[in-house]
C-alpha cells in the first residue's frame, strides 16, 4: 500500500467552507514542498447535505483518491458517522469539543483532537462560518506545520475581500494553531513540515481541470466563449468571465446550450477562436450545432465534462458514459476530433492543441473530460507555453480572384476565409458546391462528403499522437483506460513492478495500429472504465479486433480509489479473475 501518502479528510455541510479550507491546506502543503491530490464530493445543494474534501499529501507525486483516511477534520456529526470506518489504526480525528458529538463510531486506537472550534471563533470575534479556518489552523499545529505559511495564504486569499475579513480569518487560524500546540504537544505526525527545513521548492500551481481548460483556452488565444452554466464545468466559465477584460476575449452566458454552440459557430465564421463547454445533458442540446460546425467546416472547441447520466442523473458525481455519444452524436457523418485528457495538465495542453486542430482541420474538436478531472485539484510545475505555436490553418487572403471556400483538395483542407474579409462565400448547412451554393447533385455531394471525411485521415497522419505507456515495457498485466482513471491507476502501479498502463487520449481519429501493437503481445489485459458497458473496451474491439475480457467497471459516480485498483491487480495476478 502507498503508505507514503497521507490522506486528510475535511467534512461538513455545504456552506461550511469545506472546499475553501481543503484548498487552503492543499496549497499550504505544496508550499512546504509536498505534492497533493484533492478529491471532492458534494451533493447538488448550496446549503446542507454532506460535503467532503480529501487532501492527499506526499513527498512524491500523488495522483489519485484513496479510501483510507489518516486525519479527519469533522465540522459536523455526519462527518464522524460517515468516515470513522475509513480511519487507519494510527489516524487522528479533529472535531469541535463544544458540540458534544457522538464519538462511539471512532476506533479506540485513533488519536482524538477535541478543539473548541466555536468557542475560539467567538473569542476571535467571528461568526460560526469561521470554524473551518480555526480547524485548518489547528490541523497545521497537529501536523507539524508552520502557521506563518497558512496566515500568508489566508491574507493572499482574502486580499480582495477587505482587510477586516483577512485579519479575522488570519486570527482564527492563529488561535486554532495555538490551542492545538498548547494542548496537544505530542503531535500526530510532522506531515506539514515547515518550509525552512526544505530547500526552497519550485513554485507549484494547485488547480483543477476546469481551471486548466480555461487557462489552456486563454493561452491558445481564445477570442470568444459562450458557456451555459452546468455542473461540473461551471468552473471553466468562472475563470473565463473573470479574466475576459484583461485578456481581451469575450465570454457570454447565453440563453441555453443551443445558443452557446451557435454563437460560437457565428464568432468562428467571423474568424474567432471559439470555445463552448457543457456536460452530457447540455451536449444533447448542442448535438445539432456539432454537425453544423462539421458541414460548414467551422472550427470550434467543445469541452464536455461528463457526469452521471442519463437525464439529470447524479449531477455532482462522475461518469465516463458519454464516450459513444460524443463519437456518434448528430445525424449523418462528419469529421470530429475527440481528445480525452487524463488530468488537469493534459487538459491544459490538449485544450491548447484543440484550438490549433480545430482551425487546421476546420471542424469541431471535443475535449472529453469527467467530473473528477473538472473538480479535483493537483499540483504541477508552473505551466510553460513557450513551445506553443499558434496555427490558424490555411487561410485565403487573396481578394482579387474568385474564392472557393470548399475547394476540393486531396487532403480535404480548403483555404478558409472569414465573414467580413471581402471574399464571397456561403457557409451552408445545406450540402453545397465549392463556393457554398446549395446543391443536391450526385457528384458534388459525393465529392464534398469525401473531402470532409478525408480530413480525419489527414489528421491521423499529421497530428494524431500514439497512446502513452506507463510502467515497464514487458509486463504480466497491461491495464487499458482513459480519463481521470489515469491518476488512481498510476498511484496503484507504484506497488507493482510487473504491471503497465496504456493511457488513451486520442479517441477520434483512433490510433488503432499503435494500440493493437501495444496490446497484442500482452500476457493479461484489464480494461478500467467508469461506465456500465465498457464503451472504450468495445471501441478497441471495433477498431483492432482485440477483445479485452476482463473489465473493471464502476458507475456509481465515485472514482476508482487506489486501493480498489490495487486489489483488482492483485486478484488478477494471483489468477483469480472475478
Amino acid at each position: 500500500m502507498s503508505s507514503t501518502v497521507f490522506s486528510i479528510k475535511i467534512g461538513g455541510e455545504a456552506g461550511q467552507g469545506v472546499k475553501s479550507a481543503g484548498l487552503m491546506l492543499a496549497k499550504f502543503a505544496t508550499g512546504s514542498g509536498n505534492n497533493i491530490y484533492n478529491y471532492i464530493e458534494y451533493p447538488s445543494l448550496i446549503r446542507g447535505g454532506h460535503n467532503v474534501m480529501q487532501i492527499n499529501i506526499s513527498q512524491e507525486k500523488v495522483t489519485g483518491p484513496f479510501l483510507k483516511c489518516d486525519f479527519l477534520i469533522a465540522l459536523n456529526q455526519d462527518t464522524i458517522n460517515k468516515h470513522s470506518k475509513e480511519l487507519t489504526d494510527d489516524a487522528g480525528v479533529l472535531y469541535d469539543s463544544g458540540k458534544k458529538y457522538d464519538l462511539s463510531k471512532i476506533n479506540g486506537s485513533v488519536l482524538q483532537f477535541p478543539i473548541p472550534l466555536s468557542k475560539i471563533v467567538k473569542e476571535a470575534g467571528g461568526a460560526d462560518l469561521l470554524s473551518n479556518t480555526v480547524a485548518s489552523g489547528a490541523a497545521v499545529g497537529v501536523l507539524g506545520g508552520n502557521i506563518k505559511g497558512l496566515v500568508n495564504l489566508i491574507e493572499e486569499e482574502f486580499k480582495d475581500k477587505g482587510n477586516d475579513l483577512a485579519q479575522l480569518n488570519a486570527a482564527a487560524a492563529q488561535a486554532g494553531y495555538e490551542y492545538a500546540i498548547k494542548n496537544f504537544p505530542e503531535r500526530l505526525k510532522t506531515i506539514l513540515k515547515s518550509s525552512d527545513t526544505l530547500s526552497s521548492p519550485a513554485p507549484q500551481m494547485v488547480l483543477n481541470g476546469n481551471e486548466a481548460c480555461a487557462l489552456g483556452a486563454i493561452s491558445a488565444g481564445l477570442d470568444f466563449a459562450a458557456i451555459y452554466p452546468m455542473s461540473p464545468i461551471s468552473g471553466i466559465l468562472a475563470v473565463l468571465a473573470q479574466n475576459q477584460e484583461k485578456y481581451g476575449y469575450i465570454y457570454k452566458q447565453p440563453e441555453d446550450e443551443i445558443s452557446a454552440i451557435n454563437m460560437c459557430i457565428g464568432a468562428s465564421f467571423g474568424g474567432a477562436r471559439s470555445l463552448t463547454a457543457t456536460s452530457g445533458g447540455g451536449f444533447c442540446l448542442m448535438t445539432e450545432g456539432y454537425g453544423l460546425a462539421g458541414i460548414t467546416e467551422t472550427p470550434l472547441v467543445i469541452v464536455e465534462g461528463m457526469r452521471g447520466g442519463p437525464a439529470t442523473g447524479i449531477p455532482t458525481w462522475s461518469e465516463q458514459g458519454d464516450l459513444r455519444m460524443i463519437l456518434h452524436a448528430h445525424q449523418g457523418e462528419f469529421p470530429r476530433i475527440i481528445l480525452a485528457p487524463g488530468d488537469a495538465k493534459e487538459a491544459f495542453e490538449l485544450t491548447m492543441e484543440a484550438f490549433n486542430l480545430a482551425e487546421i482541420y476546420q471542424t469541431p474538436v471535443v475535449i472529453l473530460i469527467d467530473k473528477n478531472i473538472c473538480d479535483n485539484d493537483q499540483n504541477f510545475d508552473l505551466f510553460d507555453i513557450s513551445n506553443y505555436q499558434t496555427d490558424h490553418g490555411k487561410l485565403s487572403n487573396d481578394n482579387s480572384k474568385e474564392y472557393f471556400r470548399y475547394k476540393l483538395e486531396p487532403n480535404g483542407i480548403s483555404l478558409r476565409a472569414f465573414a467580413g474579409s471581402g471574399q464571397f462565400f456561403i457557409a451552408n448547412s445545406d450540402e453545397h458546391n465549392e463556393i457554398g451554393y446549395s446543391t443536391e447533385e450526385i457528384e458534388m455531394r459525393n465529392l464534398q462528403m469525401q473531402k470532409r471525411m478525408k480530413k480525419l485521415e489527414t489528421c491521423a497522419e499529421k497530428h494524431m499522437e500514439k497512446p502513452q505507456i506507463f510502467g515497464p515495457k514487458e509486463a504480466d498485466l497491461t491495464i487499458v483506460s482513459w480519463g481521470s482513471n489515469k491518476g488512481p491507476i498510476l498511484e496503484a502501479l507504484k506497488n507493482f513492478a510487473n504491471v503497465n498502463y496504456l493511457h488513451l487520449t486520442w479517441i477520434n481519429p483512433f490510433p488503432a495500429r499503435e494500440i493493437s501493437l501495444a496490446l497484442k503481445n500482452s500476457k493479461k489485459l484489464l480494461n478500467i472504465e467508469c461506465n456500465f458497458s465498457a464503451q472504450m473496451g468495445a471501441l478497441i474491439k471495433e477498431k483492432t479486433g482485440i477483445e479485452i475480457a476482463e473489465n473493471f467497471l464502476k458507475y456509481n459516480g465515485r472514482p476508482f480509489f487506489v486501493e480498489e485498483i490495487t486489489e483488482k491487480i492483485n486478484s488478477i495476478l494471483k489468477g483469480k479473475t472475478t
Partner: protein
C-alpha cells in the same frame, strides 16, 4: 455597387408571386444603395423557404439550422461588431424552434437587423400551421382549424426589449427598402415583420388582402412610447393593419457595452495568471 454586383448564378426557386421575391428585391435595392458587400456585411439565414435567399444575394452568408439563425448572428456580431449583420428568418423558424433565441436577442439588444418573412405558416414543409397562424386557421396539420392563439411578434419584441420594431408589406418594395435601411442604421435590435403572402399554401393572407387592409402609420403616431407601441401592435383587422415603425428607442446596444478585443496572444501576459494558482 449595382444590382448586378449582387447577382449570383442561382435563380430563385420560390413560386411565382411569392412574397420572398419582393423581400429579395427590396434587400438588394437597399444593399446596392448602402454599398453592403462581403467586406462590410454578413447575412445569416435559418431554414424554410426564406433561407434560400442566401443563394441569390452575393454577400457572404451563413445558412444555419432551423430556428438557430439568431444565435449565429449574435456570436458573429459580438466578435465583429463593425459588420452589418442581417438575419433572415421565417415565422415558423423564428417563433417555433427559435422562440427562446428571439426573446433573448431582443432583451440583449444586439445591434442586428432581423427580417421576418411572415407568411403565417410553414411553407417549405408544404403548408402546416405556424406559431403566427391565426386561431381557426385551417392547414394540413390543423384541418379542423388551429386551436392555438398566435404569437404577436411586434408585441413580443416590444416587451422583450427590442429597440426598433417595424412592420412592412412585402408587396411595397420601395417602402420595405427604406425600412431595411432605417433598421440597419438603428443602433440595437431591429425587427421588421414583413407580411408576405404564400401564394401556394395561404389562401387567406393574399396580396389582395394585404393591399386592401393595410395602412401606414402617419406623423401623428409617436414611435418612442413603449406603451402605445404595445397597444398599436395589437391592432389587426379588416382595413386595420398598421405598417411602419411601431417603436424606436435609444438604449445602449449589446455591442456598445463590450470591452476591447485583443487579437494577439503575445499581448496577453499569462505568467501572472499562472502564478495566481500557486
Amino acid at each position: 455597387m449595382t444590382l448586378q454586383d449582387l447577382t449570383t448564378p442561382c435563380s430563385p426557386t420560390w413560386c411565382p408571386g411569392c412574397g420572398n421575391l419582393a423581400i429579395w428585391a427590396a434587400f438588394k435595392n437597399a444593399a446596392a444603395y448602402e454599398n453592403w458587400n462581403s467586406g462590410n456585411t454578413a447575412l445569416v439565414a435559418g431554414i424554410g423557404c426564406h433561407g434560400h435567399i442566401v443563394n441569390f444575394v452575393k454577400i457572404t452568408s451563413f445558412e444555419g439550422l432551423h430556428g438557430r439563425a439568431l444565435p449565429v448572428a449574435c456570436g458573429l456580431k459580438m466578435f465583429k461588431p463593425e459588420l452589418n449583420v442581417f438575419v433572415f428568418t421565417g415565422d415558423g423558424d423564428c417563433f417555433g424552434e427559435g422562440g427562446n433565441h428571439f426573446v433573448h436577442a431582443c432583451r440583449r439588444n444586439h445591434n442586428i437587423t432581423l427580417i421576418l418573412h411572415d407568411n403565417g405558416l410553414y411553407a417549405l414543409t408544404t403548408g402546416q400551421t405556424s406559431p403566427l397562424s391565426p386561431r381557426g386557421f385551417k392547414t394540413k396539420s390543423t384541418p379542423q382549424g388551429n386551436p392555438d392563439e398566435p404569437i404577436n411578434p411586434l408585441a413580443l419584441a416590444v416587451t422583450s426589449g427590442a429597440t426598433f420594431v417595424a412592420r412592412a408589406y412585402a408587396g411595397d418594395i420601395p417602402k420595405l427598402t427604406e425600412i431595411i435601411i432605417e433598421a440597419n442604421k438603428h443602433q440595437g435590435f431591429a425587427l421588421i415583420d414583413v407580411l408576405q403572402p404564400c401564394v401556394t399554401f395561404n389562401k387567406q393572407f393574399t396580396h389582395q388582402f394585404f393591399q386592401e387592409n393595410t395602412y401606414y402609420l402617419d406623423d401623428s403616431y409617436d414611435p418612442t412610447n413603449k406603451f402605445t407601441a404595445f397597444e398599436k401592435s395589437h391592432e389587426f383587422g379588416l382595413k386595420q393593419i398598421p405598417l411602419g415603425v411601431f417603436y424606436k428607442s435609444n438604449e445602449p446596444s449589446y455591442e456598445s457595452q463590450l470591452h476591447k478585443h485583443t487579437s494577439s496572444t503575445s499581448e496577453k501576459d499569462l505568467s501572472t495568471l499562472f502564478k495566481s494558482y500557486t
